[in-house]
Symmetry: C2
Subunit: 158 residues, 2 copies
Amino acid sequence: MPRQTSQKVAKPELLATPMENAGIIDFEIIELLFFAYRDFVSDPDQILDKSGFGRAHHRVVHFVNREPGMTVADLLETLKITKQSLARVLKQLIDSGYIHQVTGPEDRRQRKLYPTQAGRDLALALAEPQSRRIERAFEGASDATRESVKRFLRGMQD
Amino acid sequence: MPRQTSQKVAKPELLATPMENAGIIDFEIIELLFFAYRDFVSDPDQILDKSGFGRAHHRVVHFVNREPGMTVADLLETLKITKQSLARVLKQLIDSGYIHQVTGPEDRRQRKLYPTQAGRDLALALAEPQSRRIERAFEGASDATRESVKRFLRGMQD
DNA sequence: AAAAATACGTCAATAAAGCTGACATATTTT
DNA sequence: AAAATATGTCAGCTTTATTGACGTATTTTT
């Protein structure tokens, strides 16, 4: 039995060397994505704070503006969240007058979602700083470069 | 006074046209970033679920592995969260044996953070599917394209 | 040496955003 | 008539974050 200190547990081996593994794993892009996304969502977050809304409201108002007439089921599929998570956020947006529901003309079970003018204005105000940030990131980039970035982002999806 | 229905409020003007504004705002990239990031974090999320950890644990374990010896203050600065938000997550990682604290050798107020071997293993396991996804997204891309994407992501940061 | 600043930990209370599971209603499809 | 669908709702829960206050140890400044 080796000589022990009074500690109850053996001293664990701590690793002092940074995790870097000869290019097997692309830590650089992983971190770039983290920081880019963190700052990308920080712009609208500040605007949303003023209305008492959060990121969930942002996403709902964005997609309803992009595709007016989409149903609740469409939204659930797009956001990949549960019905119950969406319900509260959607209700708040409807109550606040940013989104309206219309019974589906063909299928009356459906509730089609449309933005009001206030909802459109909000979506644009939220997108504006993000778009500015994107333009800044593309400063001086060629059309080919822009296409490459788009292809990369599409390739990142499931 | 115009003739009114029995409704209490005037019918709001609903917008049926998709939000598309002649290239003033880059909705395409905004959405690509949203979907790319959503799927990018879904890989580690599945692994973390098994240990009862969440995204916050992932970020902490990642950065401590990337920069062993970083302090609590360093971590707060990197993650841009509050001390109290970090506290619980960090405590769980320490209690679970993934991270250890060492009193700073020069400044004894500091607690330097190091991964254990288990912590290193966890960080690698979490990074692996993300790295694979990145490789897939870059499939067939030139080095110049990879550099363009990195430049774009760097430009997206504050 | 005393005062101020720093690094960290902790407590209490709160909020946003998500989850599961169950159930109800209206409507459409089979 | 029965089954499936679209939606809404209820109750309870978890994770991740917040603010504000306070305490301790340590270092820096005065």
